[in-house]
């Protein structure tokens, strides 16, 4: 590039009136040299930065792929069927016959980057037994802003102490504070006695029920 001779003053572009050259003795160089210098300078700076940025975007780029870990039948892990229902190890008979909600901890195998934690607590659900021997389950996470919904014995309803959301025992909202009713979860009763549950969390503060 030595041929972009230092003494070629003739090609000095008039379109360079900006302060950086105007106020001082301007270096009289061809536009091409300037352009090339700036361009290459940008390239060499951008390459490490862009690769790094793509690396940083990894969670978005690999979203979905990362969770497909396949159900490994590890004896220390939770019991899970093909549809993703976990065995809560709770018998229907053990739930109050009058339909009083019962809080039950949910365990699952949790993937965290390079680790897989077996059989750890991932959430809590309210289980209610109905007259037909079926079971209804609600995630205890409040659909408002994510506090934990309690069962209020005095009113026989669900109540969230954070901002006073209230729900009836069918999970329907009783006031205008929560954006939607409580999040019901799918339940299977196997062999007529064992409760299996598909555990999911949902985004807070939306009228729609969107799984996270």
């Amino acid at each position: 590039m030595d041929s972009a001779s230092p003494d070629s003053t003739s090609t000095e572009s008039p379109a360079q009136p900006t302060g950086e050259t105007a106020a001082f003795e301007p270096p009289r160089r061809g536009f091409f040299v300037k352009f090339l210098a700036a361009f290459l300078g940008m390239i060499v700076g951008a390459v490490p930065f862009v690769t790094g940025l793509l690396f940083f975007l990894d969670p978005l780029i690999r979203r979905g792929k990362a969770t497909q870990d396949g159900a490994m039948n590890n004896p220390d892990g939770v019991e899970k069927d093909e549809d993703g229902f976990v065995n809560l190890k709770v018998a229907v008979d053990a739930l109050p016959a009058d339909g009083t909600p019962q809080a039950v901890k949910v365990h699952d195998d949790k993937v965290d980057a390079w680790n897989k934690f077996l059989n750890v607590e991932v959430g809590t659900v309210w289980l209610l037994r109905n007259e037909q021997g079926g079971v209804t389950a609600f995630n205890t996470v409040c659909p408002h802003l994510g506090c934990s919904v309690d069962y209020r014995q005095s009113n026989d309803d669900f109540y969230c102490p954070c901002h006073q959301s209230a729900f009836d025992l069918k999970g329907s909202k009783l006031n205008q504070i929560p954006p939607r009713s409580m999040d019901q979860l799918k339940v299977k009763v196997k062999d007529g006695k064992n409760v299996w549950l598909k555990f999911q969390n949902f985004r807070g503060a939306t009228t729609e029920k969107i799984p996270t």
């Binding site: 270096p27 060499v44 793509l54 940083f56 680790n115």
Partner: protein
């Protein structure tokens, strides 16, 4: 745009700053020889950028450092590239630094009034080397772990306060969590901070004195922007190209997770420290002591380099400096070359590297399983893996008599010292040791049975013949019938059946053949031409399920031969009547000598019961062993 600039300029004086930065005078015109400083700044920026991104995924603790680096390298998007760039930039930076320094010395750019800046440069060099050293440990892999141990031990050899320094650096009496947190804080915080500070000073002082030009009248004077910037940018592009090529095509290494109980003899420092490593290995230096070789000598050399601006005051001082610099450069070059050459020729070193690579590949393979890495760290993956531990246990307990494809299980030859009389003097030379037990490389497989049935006397005793044995007699008597082409199908079936007894999970057996073989071996059917005594004549339990009773008649029970239960019982006590019986047995009973855990790992390895692998096994040394034994007997 102009308005905005004016507004900004009124408040910050940015124009003057930009002018100051861009319009530095370069008498004699822009030149390629001025690019080195800029490429150094460039590589440092690469390190800062990629380093910050790597920081977002790195986790410094003894149970997560290797694991997070593995995750960066093998799982995360572009992780291998980012880590590769960071890794190779550090090497390139050292090269560029050497070029920069050599140029400064040759041009006498350290002379008055630039002494201070020269010293600032030397400080920068130390910081860069410290960065490289601390970074080498962070992946917490075998290589970095053991190489860095050497460095901290050298610190421990410092007179008077050595022990304290070492403990402070390590964050305790031994390596652990705090070694990592400390090294990381240095590597990502303190050292880059210092580097920026000194780099700022370096550039400031440089600008104050201007560039050192050997011939200012070469071309008309120009300014940094855009002529020199263009040349710098092209040079940086070249540097970036080299780094990217290395990152993409070679990739940064990640050896197995650090394991304090598994010495790694192939540990080497980064290549640019190899000369020091080799220097310390000179016997004479070792003799004088670590502090001398690792602290006083390098210290003295650095001292002279530091004093160069002052030495140059005397007549001929500059010439001395240049000569001294070349002397060091040649010394470093020769030592580096020597270290590489010796390592290349060193069979033991190469075997260690092969094993380290095998472990590294294997652990990454295991970590990719759906069960991922347990909380206690990736080290446990290798600790509980038969494919990894089996060879080591074999080498420890079995290789004094047996071989595994000619080697000791871990890819190394088994050697012994042979004492000889030579010209009246006793000399000893290392020779391949003669195996006295069978080569277990294909234990229980078809190849194994072929040798056993056809060539018993030469097989079971390794390279010592066993002739006075009933089985050897059977082998001799039946050889003709076994090799008769008319019986080929029958014999094939027999091998298939016998091999199927081990029920290796990594092999498949042809059911029809197995059934046919079973009938012949147990005497239900006969071979097509000629005959031989059926196996069940002596090994009555063949075809049944193996049970470790310890009872029998000294004819080895071969029910489920080569299966896990069979092999476990056999290794525990081969001398019971269920196997060889006391009179015929030469193998020691291992019950009580080997732990249950080790036995389990060994047996699972030998029977192929482990997570399927694509890692290449050690190269067979059968031919090498045969050659070596021939050579041993001498010409």
């Amino acid at each position: 745009m102009n308005k905005l600039l004016n507004w900004l300029d009124d408040r910050t004086g940015i124009r003057e700053l930009m002018h100051e930065a861009l319009f530095e005078r370069i008498p004699g015109g822009a030149r390629w020889r001025y690019v080195w400083g800029s490429t150094l700044v460039f590589t440092f920026s690469i390190q800062v950028i990629t380093g910050l991104f790597l920081w977002t995924a790195y986790s410094p603790s003894a149970q997560t450092a290797w694991e997070s680096v593995y995750y960066i390298q093998d799982v995360m998007y572009m992780g291998n590239i980012v880590r590769g760039i960071h890794h190779y930039s550090s090497s390139i930076m050292v090269v560029l630094m050497a070029i920069h320094l050599i140029q400064v010395i040759i041009d006498g750019a350290y002379k008055a009034p630039r002494e201070i800046n020269y010293w600032l440069g030397l400080i920068l060099m130390q910081i860069v080397l410290a960065l490289s050293l601390t970074g080498y440990l962070l992946p917490w892999d075998q290589k970095g772990y053991y190489a860095t141990q050497v460095t901290t031990k050298i610190m421990g050899a410092t007179p008077i306060v050595g022990a304290q320094i070492q403990e402070l650096v390590q964050g305790g009496p031994a390596y652990g969590h705090h070694t990592l947190t400390r090294f990381f804080a240095m590597h990502a915080g303190v050292l880059p901070g210092l580097l920026m500070l000194f780099l700022g000073l370096h550039i400031y002082v440089f600008r104050r004195h201007g560039i050192t030009t050997p011939d200012p009248d070469r071309a008309p004077e120009t300014t940094f922007w855009p002529d020199q910037v263009l040349k710098d940018a092209v040079a940086c592009l070249g540097v970036l190209g080299v780094i990217l090529a290395l990152a993409v095509f070679k990739g940064a290494e990640l050896s197995g997770p650090a394991n304090p109980s598994e010495a790694y003899s192939a540990a080497r420092p980064e290549w640019y420290f190899l000369f020091l490593f080799r220097f310390l290995r000179f016997e004479a230096i070792e003799h004088i002591g670590l502090a001398f070789g690792a602290i006083y000598v390098p210290g003295a050399l650095m001292g002279i380099i530091t004093l160069m601006p002052i030495i140059a005051w005397w007549k001929g001082g500059h010439k001395f400096n240049v000569a001294f610099m070349w002397l060091i450069a040649i010394g470093v070059g020769v030592l580096t070359g020597l270290a590489m050459y010796e390592d290349d020729k060193d069979v033991g070193h190469q075997a260690s590297i092969a094993e380290a690579n095998r472990d590294a590949e294997r652990v990454r393979e295991l970590a990719k399983r759906p069960s991922k890495i347990p909380i206690e760290g990736a080290g446990s993956l290798l600790r509980d893996d038969p494919f990894t531990q089996g060879p080591r246990i074999f080498a420890k307990y079995c290789a004094s008599c047996h071989r595994y494809n000619g080697h000791n299980g871990r890819g190394r030859m088994v050697m012994e010292q042979l004492k000889e009389q030579e010209n009246g003097k006793e000399v000893s030379r290392a020779v391949a040791s003669i195996p006295t037990g069978a080569d277990l490389g294909n234990f229980g497989g078809e190849g194994w049975w072929k040798l056993l049935l056809l060539n018993y006397e030469n097989h079971v005793g390794g390279f010592t013949k066993i002739e006075d044995s009933e089985m050897a007699t059977w082998s001799k008597d039946s050889r003709k019938a076994m090799q008769d082409p008319k019986n080929a199908d029958d014999v094939k079936a027999i091998y298939e059946y016998l091999a199927s007894l081990s029920a290796r999970p990594d092999s498949e057996y042809n059911k029809k053949l197995v059934e046919k073989g079973r009938k012949i071996a147990t005497g239900e059917e006969f071979i097509t031409a000629g005959k031989f005594a059926s196996c069940t004549d002596c090994h009555g339990t063949l075809g049944e399920t193996f049970e470790a009773t310890g009872e029998g008649f000294g004819y080895p029970d071969i029910a489920d031969y080569g299966s896990k239960p069979w092999l476990t019982a056999f290794i525990n006590d081969p001398g019971t009547d269920q196997f060889y019986g006391e009179d015929n047995n030469k193998m020691p009973a291992f019950k009580g000598k080997i732990s249950d855990r080790e036995l389990d790992l060994l047996v699972r390895w030998m029977t192929g019961d482990y997570y399927e692998t694509e890692v290449e096994d050690y190269e067979s040394k059968v031919k090498v062993l045969e050659e070596a034994l021939k050579a041993r007997n001498g010409p």
